[in-house]
Point group: C2
Chain length 566, copies 2
């Protein structure tokens, strides 16, 4: 490709509102341009990277026998009513009416459509296991689109869906996709950690995220040093190292603690350690149930874990008004003793093995001390609903947890039968019995991954693209366009390397400084500069991470290029 | 690809609402499925054809040095306000508001976006000529989506845009695109005619359509036998063979013609040939100007040609009320003599060379006879504003015009400076003078073209895909999956041909009848049946257009396949 024909509007400075380094680089290099908030055009340079990444995905999906297809963007709202997600999705979903007034939406994801179009066609166990995928534009009306391609309103995803007749088949499909995804990220040059993840509004329980560590990441992952444990902090577990020495139960006593609302207040006022206090928080679950949640005073409640333990759609803390109405007490005064007003009492595992502890008296400004589990109150269910902290031992090898910000670039779920049951898609199993199809769903944030690649491969002046996704493999930069011997050599090299590699040839009548600055932004694995010594058969080569260029005779160039790109 | 892993839900009968043969075939073969009216999912088989067609387009665009990029689907309405098309586009445009209430739309085409993102970056003549393209989903809220992929609400287009500093550069770009488009259609196996076309709401004047003759087509093209003349009937010209013998002008006389409203009425009532009557029709132009349009009584007015002659945005016939108010006469009584109320009088060329003819008297129920041009009235402008009829001589070689229904699969326009002037994009020319960038726009209806290919390649039981776009090149059909010698040979052939071609291997435990019926729908250029004689090294080959299969020894298969597909 001749650079004179290649639209690549570079900028000296990125616009002031670009914060993320990857966003700045892609704007400066003319990879992308914003059309409206969170909505980008992929200019030729960006488009080339995108397509190379997509090609890798296509190859890896093909290796696990998953064929490609494509669903529409414009979808009828009715499908989403069936699955119950029309309401759940909220304002992030773009909705519109067509000319006949029919409620429609722009697909933010495609579980419903695949269930309708694919699962409903699977009538017999003989047609399974089967899987399909698409690489396609999604729409989500983010409240605050930001960081360029990282959180946009229109973006590209690979989404794969698997359909199985048995749980074993699903497990196999899940592992196939995991392997394919890992290969994709490896070939695209993105370093990722596979972490335990929450499945959010997608439904299903068994899910793994592919997280790419990066400063600009919006997620935090908790990992141990050996790599044997990795989890999104939303789901991270840790070992609770505190252990209270056994004590004989003492008599419960009521203590006035006027104006003391927080655990820290009580520690100071009552002169007891936080580990001797049990915090009680009232939650409203699925907008109807009242659940009192207990945790040891030095720990925090993780609402995602809580949601899972309760198998709920939503949890929220009761507000001050609700708290007073339901419990009779105000904040700081609520507790589990004689809490008949709660539909359920749930406790974190840290509440086990405590003796003679402090809880709210269910009266504003009063606590009870010397309270004991099972003697003074009972708990309906225990579980890990605690926020894990950095430095705590991981649950596998007991190494200290390390927290890292990262970008979620992929996510694989065992969906199970949620969609096939709500939308109604059954097949006949080996015994002739109708069963719901068992689904899995697997996604890669394709455009977001581009941001992750750049974040992980920035250089001082530009980017060093991993070779399989570089927009061009070889960048030939001719110093002076009016020097015939340079033109002759450059054209010769262009022809030779184009036979095997993607070559960009800078044939513009520009100053050397402009050409080199642009080349740093193109970030091709190899830059060949054809300059003064062209007549002597000598050029310069430079890799983006090299501090400076090196002279090389033209007859040794083949070897160098093939070795670097091979 | 193993067919057991390949989601391809075939149907015995197409749904009753499918009318077009191509639509039926694509539904029956599991190429596509409707998700909502005019909105389709491309299942794996359809997606393969789509991608092969897209690859051909990418290769042909690359040959003329036009790089690929991609614009977003979700666009701000503001851009379309600048160009004036927000109103013009009407109810076909999908509009929506984002969560902040900002007016947005789904791109039905991208002239505005390319002007904004590309043309505005071109500051100097040195940066031109340059061109870009995308292959991307478009949205148009058709009132009556129909014929499957032929007229959908969500569809895929290739749209290219060129940017030039001079008219010569534009001409060159236009010819490059014309050549590239012609190659695309040839390689995709679509027979097309390049025809003179109207440019409609796109702006610009010089435009050519690529029309694929097909029964289901919604357009009609007028062509001569030698191929030297082809035009959309909307724009078709023909030679007017009528010639009136010269006469001396007679005195004008008023004739009562009570209740006679049409030319046919007058011919009968006045006993004159239609060629001695001049029809006068009052038009309202651009909702403000009153233009009286004259044409010889035996001919019809072509409103598209009229629009061009007047350089107008819109023309419409005055309604009865307006006619009476403006002219004082009712239908049938209007004429050009003393028509001071008209802003302008325009006449078709057929009005020239007439003597002593009849026109309306501008009084209900009266005509004037013996009227003569220039003596009794004058005309502001003449031109060809006449509907051409089948059988009339073409304007180039005077061969009879033939009308054919056809599908518009491509359209190339010289846009000129309409968008760059309205949106404001100027560059400095060689003399340092600011000039608007000169644009061209070039489109292929990619998914619509798929319909055209099928329409042109139907067989008795399925389709015969042209080899470059066939979903698979070789279809290996194994008769009995429980016969070891068949499996051995089929797998051997799969491995051998997969190295060079796209192979589908029917490994399903299905009856022969089912397998052959499905193979007819897949339409691969070569079907290899591995059956009874597998053990003797004999298989059957069949091309979709062959009446029946032919036995062939396995060692001659290579030659046969390479010859067919080479």
């Amino acid at each position: 490709m001749r650079q004179s024909k290649f639209f690549m509007p570079t900028l000296k400075e990125a616009p002031a509102d670009a914060v993320a380094e990857s966003h700045k680089l892609m704007l400066r290099g003319g990879y992308i341009r914003q059309v409206t908030a969170g909505v980008y055009a992929y200019l030729p340079l960006g488009y080339r990277v995108l397509r190379k990444a997509e090609n890798i995905m296509e190859e890896e999906m093909s290796k696990i026998d998953v064929p490609e297809m494509s669903m529409p963007h414009f979808l009828p709202a009715s499908l989403w009513e069936e699955s119950g997600r029309l309401k759940k999705y909220g304002p992030e979903m773009f909705r519109l009416k067509d000319r006949h007034g029919r409620e429609s939406l722009l697909g933010p994801t495609h579980e419903e459509t695949f269930t309708e179009i694919v699962a409903k066609n699977l009538k017999s166990y003989k047609q399974m296991p089967i899987a399909l995928y698409q690489i396609q534009t999604k729409f989500r009306d983010e409240n605050r689109p930001r960081f360029g391609l990282l959180r946009g309103r229109e973006f590209i995803m690979l989404d794969a869906y698997s359909f199985a007749a048995t749980a074993d088949q699903l497990d196999q499909q899940f592992e196939d996709e995991r392997r394919a995804f890992a290969n994709v990220f490896k070939r695209c040059g993105v370093q990722v950690r596979q972490v335990i993840a929450d499945s959010g509004t997608m439904g299903g329980k068994n899910s793994t995220e592919f997280q790419a560590p990066a400063d600009i990441g919006e997620d935090t992952i908790a990992t141990n040093e050996s790599g044997s444990y990795s989890a999104n902090v939303e789901m991270a577990e840790s070992v609770d190292t505190f252990k209270q020495a056994p004590e004989d139960p003492k008599e419960v006593a009521k203590v006035a603690t006027p104006g003391q609302k927080t655990i820290a207040d009580l520690v100071k006022f009552m002169k007891v350690p936080a580990t001797r206090i049990v915090k009680s928080v009232l939650y409203i679950v699925d907008d109807k149930q009242t659940v009192l949640v207990l945790i040891r005073g030095d720990k925090k409640i993780n609402e995602i874990k809580l949601t899972h333990l309760l198998d709920a759609d939503s949890v929220r803390e009761a507000n001050d008004k609700e708290l007073k109405e339901i419990t009779g007490a105000e904040k700081g005064g609520v507790g589990p003793v004689k809490a008949d007003w709660a539909d359920k009492i749930i406790a974190d595992n840290t509440v086990k093995g405590l003796y003679n502890f402090v809880v709210g008296a269910n009266e504003t400004g009063y606590q009870l001390k010397n309270v004991n589990l099972n003697r003074d109150f009972t708990v309906d269910d225990f579980g890990d609903i605690r926020v894990a902290n950095e430095g705590e031992p991981d649950p596998v090898d007991h190494q200290p947890l390390k927290f890292t910000t990262s970008i979620e670039v992929g996510h694989i779920f065992k969906l199970g039968t949620y969609y096939t049951q709500t939308i109604g898609s059954k097949f006949l199993d080996k015994n002739g019995k109708a069963q719901p199809v068992i689904m899995g769903s697997y996604g890669i944030g394709v455009t977001r991954m581009l941001s992750a690649i750049v974040e992980q491969h920035l250089t001082k002046f530009g980017v060093a693209w991993p070779k399989e996704v570089a927009p061009f493999s070889v960048h030939i930069v001719q110093m002076k366009m009016n020097k015939e011997e340079q033109t002759k050599l450059a054209e010769q090299l262009e022809k030779k390397f184009s036979a095997k590699y993607d070559v960009l040839y800078d044939d513009r009548k520009e100053r050397a400084g402009v050409k080199f600055a642009d080349a740093d932004l193109v970030g091709a694995p190899i830059r060949i500069t054809v300059g003064k010594k062209a007549g002597d058969g000598i050029v310069e080569v430079k890799r983006p991470t090299d501090a400076k260029a090196t002279e090389i005779p033209v007859d040794k160039l083949d070897n160098f290029v093939n070795k670097e790109l091979g």
